[in-house]
């Protein structure tokens, strides 16, 4: 955005941030993610007037499609999945810039066609040579695609235009592979041109963690070891692995979720206040806190992994993990993982962070619960406070986004009796009924070149450093505990907290 533009004024906050002239190239455009999330997000952005005139969308896939077929697919995807209502004039604006390039990833001719298409769009739509390449493809194709981009000169930025690469998780499966992947990508694109999507960071509730902590005075004074007893970060899914057996087996819950989503949530919850809200300041604080994470001494006692066994999930009979199609019956892959981490700094020393994730758990929920210590002295007698738990602040990331504060209150009546009550803030109540989808925000940020909400290279490597020793330990010792589908995980996980005199929240 040009600061010399006389029509722009920082005071004029009605004018939205519109991306400059640009286009988006999606590799693997026939995939689920592309149809359900990316295309609708592009439409929603256009509908909100946030895309530049002439914005172009190029699909790249093996399918034999003409531009019109592709446009039809986008049209259907948008109609079905877009958040905002379908409007013909918005569609007309988009459809002019829709192109499709057919080919395999190792097909040189196809990449030449892609190059020509980009040139053609620069002329016809005025995209100005600015393109983002979205790699919505399995990780094994990453090297091929980026190499092809390099070979055909598609990654070259000139002085007045940019090229950016967008990659999705998984960012490798351990530190070594992550570094290898980074080497390949950074060989072609400079650091600031690589955007790693962790769609959790695009969620309003996650961005709100920073607002909650640093825009208020109410919480920060107690956000430390003097008041906080422990923190629980949970991401639970009620679904099984579905059709993703090929991807999931051998990866497991810890690599799939803890490495990126949960450690990012931990970093945002535990980090110090950044000097400013720009990408560099933010990443500095996040890497600092991730660097201070300490693994438990006894990995056998302080980590738990599990596999769901057959059971009943919400009134439906479901298979166990080992019985799922395409899974080796002797597989040791974890579908549940719980770990205890500590952070070695003045703010958090001695405060455990319990992270857990799993499939086929009770319900779909992601939340961060900061549980506070009990009052050091209670003037009430034991019977009065029998029903009083620990105070807690719960950030509900999804679904039903919001914040809950739990504290004790006197039960009306003649006796003194204190019981837990909760005070609730729900996004749906105080703000828009539908906040922008994470992908809308993230795609817009890619086009604007705003890297705030994207994990950096260093963060990815640090989180693998945290997880790698645990995975190694699991490889060598024992096998996953079984838990019935539809419950809150294996008993071993409950025992792990019980040893510390604590228990898991039921989210």
């Amino acid at each position: 955005m040009s600061s010399s533009n006389p029509l722009r004024d920082a005071q004029d906050r009605r004018l939205p941030r519109i991306a400059g002239p640009s286009g988006l190239v999606i590799f693997g455009v026939t995939g689920d993610l592309s149809r359900k999330k990316l295309m609708p997000a592009v439409y929603d952005l256009a509908n909100r007037g946030l895309l530049p005139p002439g914005f172009s969308l190029i699909g790249f896939a093996r399918r034999q499609w003409a531009d019109e077929d592709f446009a039809q697919v986008v049209h259907d995807a948008v109609k079905e999945h877009a958040r905002t209502p379908f409007r013909e004039e918005v569609w007309q604006q988009l459809v002019n810039g829709c192109r499709f390039v057919q080919g395999d990833f190792d097909d040189d001719a196809a990449f030449e066609t892609l190059k020509e298409t980009i040139h053609e769009l620069d002329k016809a739509q005025g995209t100005g040579g600015n393109f983002a390449f979205y790699l919505s493809v399995p990780p094994k194709f990453f090297p091929t695609v980026v190499q092809q981009l390099k070979k055909h000169g598609l990654a070259e930025q000139t002085e007045n235009s940019w090229r950016r690469a967008v990659i999705e998780k998984p960012f490798g499966h351990d530190l070594k592979s992550a570094q290898e992947l980074n080497r390949i990508v950074h060989d072609v694109f400079p650091t600031e041109a690589v955007f790693r999507i962790d769609h959790y960071l695009g969620k309003e509730t996650v961005q709100n963690i920073l607002a909650l902590r640093f825009a208020n005075t109410l919480f920060e004074p107690i956000w430390n070891r003097s008041y906080v007893d422990h923190v629980q970060i949970t991401m639970a899914e009620d679904i099984g692995i579905g059709g993703r057996a090929g991807y999931y087996d051998g990866i497991g819950a810890a690599r799939d979720v803890i490495q990126n989503h949960l450690l990012q949530l931990l970093a945002l919850t535990a980090m110090e206040e950044p000097a400013s809200f720009d990408a560099d300041a933010l990443v500095a604080e996040k890497t600092k806190v991730l660097g201070a994470v300490r693994l438990p001494k006894d990995l056998g006692k302080e980590t738990v992994r599990g596999q769901y066994a057959a059971g009943w999930q919400g009134g439906e009979k479901v298979l166990g993990y080992l019985e799922e199609e395409g899974i080796d019956p002797r597989s040791k892959t974890d579908t549940y993982a719980a770990i205890k981490l500590e952070i070695d700094n003045r703010r958090w020393a001695g405060v455990p962070f319990y992270l857990r994730t799993g499939k086929r758990l009770g319900r779909r929920v992601t939340e961060i619960a900061v549980v506070f210590q009990r009052a050091p002295h209670s003037p009430f007698d034991d019977t009065a406070t029998e029903e009083l738990g620990q105070n807690a602040l719960v950030i509900r990331v999804q679904p039903d986004e919001g914040v809950t504060l739990r504290f004790g209150s006197k039960v009306p009546g003649t006796q003194m009796e204190v019981r837990d009550v909760s005070m609730d803030f729900a996004y749906g109540e105080s703000f828009t009924e539908s906040s922008p989808e994470a992908y809308e925000r993230l795609i817009l940020d890619v086009l604007l070149g705003d890297a705030n909400l994207f994990p950096r290279l260093k963060e990815v490597e640090l989180s693998w450093q945290i997880l790698d020793p645990i995975e190694e330990y699991w490889d060598k010792h024992g096998k996953p505990a079984q838990y019935p589908a539809g419950t809150w995980g294996p008993v071993e996980a409950d025992e792990m907290l019980a040893r510390d005199g604590r228990s898991w929240r039921r989210p």
Partner: protein, 344 residues
């Protein structure tokens, strides 16, 4: 749920709100503001409908103040307040109280509204029609942080702009200004694409008696520091903006009220969606920020009479001080005369 109260008071209405909330089982609701809608019986339904839709984005307590016309002198001397309290699904998101004022109480509407404002939350007053010329001095307007008028609904929209400029107080805003946000945003995006271009003149073309055209022209003139013309077409709404530059004209034109075409030298023509928006969307945008809109203020203060074109009035109405250094433009016609086609 709906509770009807006849010949009532503000405290009875407050009790009814509490009772209504209890009955539907949601004692605390995250309402973020109080929206006071001042209107007449004729416009109440549409205004409330728009407010209810906007409340999906901004859950609010809506107070609809309807001043009833009393026909006989006896009725005029008798003050009466009737209220209709709606909570739950029949009230959009939040709560609605429709207040009907009869007789003397019409002149003391603020005494009814004040006790019904949400504690500690911002207050917005919206006049869908018949906006007061000096909103901040209006007894209801004085209660609010944000005063939303709609010059489009005025009898003499263009001269009203001059009065609004003279009476402007921080917190004033106008839906005629809100309507042009998509135009402004697209024009800014167009200049983003030609960062070094120098604009030498601007022209806004649109239907007559639509103050949005004047506002857009004044905004361009003020921001770009160039002369701006306001010319008249058959609409609908605004139809075109032309920015003369050293390397040709940047044109954004929209003939059908929904899809526009952006053309500029060195770039291909491009289609952009530029739909005329519903009142509810305008209101939702208006409620998004409640701090003073300084850009609106600067635009308004530029002065309608400095625009060239057919619909500028001959001079500022008496009583409205002209901004410094402003010379009355030699306008060809007084507003209200038959619209002439713009001679470019």
């Amino acid at each position: 749920m709906k509770i009807d109260l006849t010949d009532t008071t503000a405290s009875k209405i407050n009790n009814a709100l509490v009772e209504g909330r209890r009955a539907i089982g949601t004692p605390a609701i995250g309402m973020v503001l109080t929206l006071v809608i001042v209107t007449d019986e004729e416009h109440a339904y549409d205004s409330l409908k728009a407010a209810n839709e906007a409340s999906r984005e901004h859950p609010s307590r809506k107070l609809v103040v309807i001043k009833r016309v009393s026909r006989s002198p006896r009725n005029r001397s008798q003050a009466r307040l009737d209220a209709e309290v709606r909570v739950g699904t029949s009230a959009g998101t939040g709560e609605t109280v429709v207040l009907r004022l009869y007789g003397d109480v019409i002149d003391h509407a603020q005494s009814v509204v004040l006790p019904l404002l949400l504690p500690d939350a911002p207050v917005v007053v919206w006049w869908p029609v018949a906006s007061p010329l000096d909103p901040v001095k209006d007894p209801l307007g004085a209660l609010a942080q944000r005063r939303v008028t709609d010059t489009y609904a005025a009898d003499e929209p263009v001269s009203e702009l001059t009065t609004r400029a003279a009476n402007y107080a921080p917190g004033d805003t106008d839906l005629a200004w809100t309507r042009i946000t998509p135009w402004r945003s697209m024009l800014a995006a167009a200049l983003d694409q030609q960062p070094d271009v120098k604009v030498t003149a601007a022209e806004v073309e649109g239907e007559d008696c639509n103050p949005s055209g004047e506002l857009l022209a004044m905004w361009l003139a003020d921001r770009l520091g160039v002369p701006a013309r306001r010319t008249v077409s058959d609409g609908p709404g605004l139809t075109a903006v032309r920015l003369e530059t050293e390397d040709g004209v940047i044109t954004l034109d929209r003939t059908d009220g929904s899809l526009a075409r952006l053309s500029m030298k060195g770039h291909p023509d491009r289609a952009v969606a530029l739909k005329r928006r519903e009142t509810s969307e305008l209101l939702a945008e208006e409620l998004r920020r409640l701090d003073p809109d300084t850009v609106y203020a600067a635009t308004l203060k530029y002065g309608v009479h400095r625009l060239a074109g057919t619909s500028a009035p001959e001079q500022a109405p008496a009583g409205a001080p002209a901004p410094d250094g402003a010379k009355p433009a030699p306008g060809p016609a007084k507003k209200g005369s038959a619209p002439k086609k713009a001679a470019k």
